[in-house]
Symmetry: C2
Subunit: 200 residues, 2 copies
Amino acid sequence: MRSRRDDYSESTRAALVKSAVRLFTERGYAGTSLDEIAKRARVTKGALYHHFSGKQAVFEAAFDEVESDVKGRLEKILSGPEAPWDRALNGLREFIASCLDPAYQRLALQEAPVVMGWARWREAEDRYSFGLIKQALQDLIDAGEVLAVPVEVTSRLLFGALCSAATEIAHSTDQRKVGDEIEDVVVRLLNQVRRPAAGA
Amino acid sequence: MRSRRDDYSESTRAALVKSAVRLFTERGYAGTSLDEIAKRARVTKGALYHHFSGKQAVFEAAFDEVESDVKGRLEKILSGPEAPWDRALNGLREFIASCLDPAYQRLALQEAPVVMGWARWREAEDRYSFGLIKQALQDLIDAGEVLAVPVEVTSRLLFGALCSAATEIAHSTDQRKVGDEIEDVVVRLLNQVRRPAAGA
DNA sequence: GTCACGAACATACCACCGGTATGGCGGTGG
DNA sequence: CCACCGCCATACCGGTGGTATGTTCGTGAC
């Protein structure tokens, strides 16, 4: 039976993660102290170290929090009822939109590879956004919508391009304009590799 | 007149930068202490703080060191006597090769945006590799080799894709195979946007 | 030659932060 | 009702970035 204490414990842990996401997004990993994270969650460092093994673990929890959110929205779109090509396109737009979230931008895309180490980050990304992008590309190929390409490296190229572009959008003064430009270029490129038989 | 002391000073500064490049590459920015950097250069932290205003400044000096190297090699190729299309292709190969250098990989591409802050990093990149890529793309458009595209965002997409891909290559067990795959995909994409009149 | 001066360092010290050890409070199961 | 233990607070330590101060020695003026 789930006890009252379990509720309390989970609540403080969630508060710590929420606090960590906020502060890591605002000041970065190196710029935020554990005392600040704990203080914002109205506890002390002792509580933090009870729930997490260290600063890295706190970061990874914040990372999972942010990634899960994006993954959820992407999954919903990619498993929709539309045609494969349209699902991919909508997924693309959704991913770009997600990248505009400062938390996802800084935590998951910028700092995570440095803080967690590239290998661990890549492993984690395989279970989140990158994994979905790879899957979407594979689906397009299986459906005969696009020419056969090496899925792993192509999705890696696509992922890198989108992350870089999204950062550009996020920091530009006219987000709408830059966003449209990028979507335009990507769609044009995708249309180039689209199989003639499937196209208009 | 250049004094003996100036020689000494420049020598120790260079030794500090070299030491910083080495250690930042091996252990990352957060993982290396200023004492270590100074020790490897056979001086103390006092000397380091005489030449640099702080840890960030040391990192930026190391960053400039690595970037200048890559920029030099790229400039040589891009300003060669070959046709624009071939120069671009050779530049592409050279850039991918440069990305395999652990120092450039980790320092300039991975940690720099986090350590220097994205805005400052972007500003610096405009004067280094990214600036050259953007210029190369502009040249291709001016020469009528490829379709007109928004240069800024397209080169950003390309740059992001290449960096991401290069990291993938660097960490893969069979670098040759993955490298060839990536070059193949990129060249195929580029050929898609190549103007029919200019192509074969 | 020598002497004062300042650049080029070395040394000593401080504040802060990640991490650990220990103490105490209160919900929970028996 | 009580002993236990999870949950959390407090106290403390080592290391690190940064600063302030001391020391050496090449340099240029006389």
